[in-house]
Symmetry: C2
Subunit: 136 residues, 2 copies
Amino acid sequence: MTPYNIDHVAIAVDDLDEAIERHRQLFGAEPLWREVVADQGVEEAMIPIGGSFVQLLAPLSGDTPVGRFLTKYGEGLHHIAYAVPDIAAALQDLRGEGARLIDETARTGGRGAKIAFVHPAAFAGTLIELVELPDE
Amino acid sequence: MTPYNIDHVAIAVDDLDEAIERHRQLFGAEPLWREVVADQGVEEAMIPIGGSFVQLLAPLSGDTPVGRFLTKYGEGLHHIAYAVPDIAAALQDLRGEGARLIDETARTGGRGAKIAFVHPAAFAGTLIELVELPDE
């Protein structure tokens, strides 16, 4: 299933307020909203750039996936999210190609979207999220 | 200067042909073109996704920035590129904010675009490229 958009590019940061302010200073762009996604242990700020978002991602505690990423690697690019029209069909296609998945079925992410993560072992060491946005 | 688009998200890969084929298998999308950018020591393949590109980036030799990145970190997300209308003005703004730059002035990248890299120390450990596309 071909993604129809890069929904967002996520950057892991230590301090969400500082990162938002620094991004604003350097690049002028501001978040449209911020949101705690308790299920993922993060607070995220969504900065619109063209038809995509830069997502700044701060952990709610050290003992979360993003908290452990920051301890290991420091701040930096974390994942890329592809928007797909039908996430269940996309996951089925990926399983058919033998791709390793983190999430076998979709769960609920920010914006009430259906999301699932594909393991970095599936493609070029890159954590890829699939996003199916809710109907407007 | 506010970017008007995420021009591309770059992923460093060991083998460009393999990565293109794997991306096609998993996600259906194919490169619109590929290009050697000798100045940067890379061959890049540009896969359109929505209004942006995923750029697969393979080093021409180990002794290049992307070659050294791969040796140190392995395959993975490498940089994000913001499209700006006027790269000279954007660089001047960034200097005014005290941002550390890799390129003090623009040079020529793929597609004949004017490009410049901002140092990861400037924002969240993230390598950010500025791109001013040539007039059509």
